[in-house]
Amino acid sequence: MLNAKPYRVIMKSLSPVVISGIPPSLDGVLYEAISQVIASNNPSEVLPALRDVLLFNEALGVFHASSLRFGITPEQGVSAATSVRCDYFSQEKLSSAMFSPKERGGKYSLIRLEGGPTKKRLTSRPAYSAPYLTFDFAGDADAVEKLLTLTHVGVGYDYFSAANGEFTDVRIIPLDEDISISSGDVAVRPVPDTSGLDGVKGLSPLIPPYFHGEKVGVVYPEPVRFNLITTLL
């Protein structure tokens, strides 16, 4: 893409981020944003649009978009949190007038809430809280700002369904050099393990959507990285 420049995006974090192994990267967030804008989940339609927004590194086969780094303040660091979800039925939500107990051979004549598949469910996931979320990228800053501001996207696991990793106050600042793939010899996003960069070894797709697609050997940064926000501005 033309005129791709290095930038850093800084967002104020509103709810804890759930990280499942590999830290979330900006191209994943923007992939979801674009799929909302063009109303398509088809990678063959979303990925070309993503290439108009982020620079693509043909040699490594990845976008110039870093993984998450938390920004902390002297008052608030990164802390452990939980994302909790609860499912249960109460009298107002399900009454016996709503169903036929004789259907399916009378299998469901009673609603048991103490156990079995209909029990009250309470799930909690470990998550991280910090005041700011930051990513580095090379690409079109205006488009990235619009996509992050005007669509319904968040960072990390289960934003759409459970509002984890919600953010606000998106701010983009220019950088002198592109550090969206590596900083020194260390990977700051998943890259092929043949790249020679240092990082944690694992398996992951190289481009979004990350929840499916062919997994290859990668190195990726530590799941939780953070810096004082004053050093990131």
């Binding site: 109303a39 036929s100 369904s161």
Partner: protein
């Protein structure tokens, strides 16, 4: 299909709170936060999502009504699937991993599942957390103590026979004695649990055994009471809530929705407005809210949304401004060929 974004505010008409697992602190039940107690609390999007999904479930139950024989056409498994996305019968359709448009046929038949999802079928609806617009919009509520009513109002003794007065004084003295004993045992347990945190595996097992023995001791102390085994007098935890009149920013989205799906979602908001309550402690008059969202959508290829209208819900009614939004509600109402039992 298009993506609709709802941006607006939820205003509390009564205190608004939620009780979460692990939310109890020394100072009571606290609202969830992104960080320590110095950061602002938020009202979780999952609680709002649940309320709207349950409202959508009721919209469907009302819409389908009774069949020709006067029976409800849904069984329990249908309800659990619609209201919670839980497959209790184990017979929902599975889709190949990574397939584009997987579940397209199911989405067409059952817009409720398409909107709110189930295991293996992502919901199109995204609901954000409600974030306070400024500080000082929350505080601690409730709290206090459960006491023995006869101590508060001695005139109640007039309604007790002498043998019942004796019974009461026996219960009170037994409870007072047991309470002191149990407090001592619990302090011992707390000390052991603290040691367990740094102990090695074998020591930990020994300590756990001692903790269990103390549990039994507490139980047997309770069993010694002739009746009223659990304490009557007890402190009641306070809980944190947004104050009445608090303003919370709120966003929602329906990704790549058909007009019928959007219509069902708006119908669910209308249904929710008939009892617009969120969160817990309804018995303390908590949870009543009103809300207002402006609705925008994307035109293909453009990077800025256009406004479709506005939706306001309050206990005094619902206002839908915008022809396209009303048309979506009508599109869902008029559409045929849905099968809400499909999963």
């Amino acid at each position: 299909m298009r993506t609709l974004n709802f941006n607006g505010k939820i205003t509390t008409l009564e205190p608004l709170t939620v009780t979460l697992k692990g939310a109890v602190s020394a100072s009571g039940h606290r609202l969830p936060r992104n960080g320590g107690y110095s950061s602002s609390p938020y009202f979780p999007g999952t609680s709002i999502r649940g309320a709207i999904r349950h409202a959508a479930h009721l919209v469907i139950v009302d819409r389908v009504g009774f069949d020709a024989e006067g029976k409800v056409p849904f069984d329990l498994a249908d309800h659990f699937m619609m209201a919670q996305g839980v497959d209790i019968a184990g017979d929902s359709e599975t889709f190949a991993a990574g397939e584009i448009n997987a579940g397209a046929e199911l989405r067409r038949k059952n817009p409720l599942l398409s909107l709110f999802g189930r295991w293996g079928l992502a919901g199109k609806v995204g609901i954000g957390n409600a974030i306070p617009t400024s500080d000082e919009q929350w505080g601690m509520f409730g709290g206090g103590a459960r006491t023995i009513m006869f101590e508060r109002n001695e005139s109640l003794f007039e309604f007790l026979e002498p043998d019942q007065v004796d019974r009461l004084s026996r219960i009170i003295s037994e409870q007072a004695e047991a309470s002191v004993d149990i407090t001592t045992i619990k302090a011992e347990q707390a000390a052991l649990k603290k040691l367990m945190k740094t102990a090695d595996k074998d020591t930990k097992a020994d300590l756990q055994k001692k903790v269990n023995e103390l549990d039994e001791k507490i139980q047997s102390r309770k069993d010694e009471k002739s009746e009223a085994r659990e304490s009557i007098r007890r402190p009641i935890d306070p809980y944190e809530a947004f104050i009445a009149g608090a303003e919370l920013n709120h966003r929602m989205s329906i990704k790549n929705a058909t007009d019928e799906e959007a219509g069902l979602f708006i119908s669910a908001l209308v249904r929710f407005a008939s009892e617009p309550r969120l969160g817990g402690h309804a018995n303390h008059n908590c949870g009543l809210v009103e809300a207002n969202w402006s609705v925008t959508t994307w035109k293909p290829g453009e990077l800025a949304p256009v406004t479709l209208g506005e939706i306001s819900i309050s206990p005094s009614g619902v206002k839908i401004e915008g022809e396209e939004l009303s048309a979506m509600v009508a599109a869902f109402a008029k559409a045929n060929g849905f099968d809400f039992k499909a999963r």
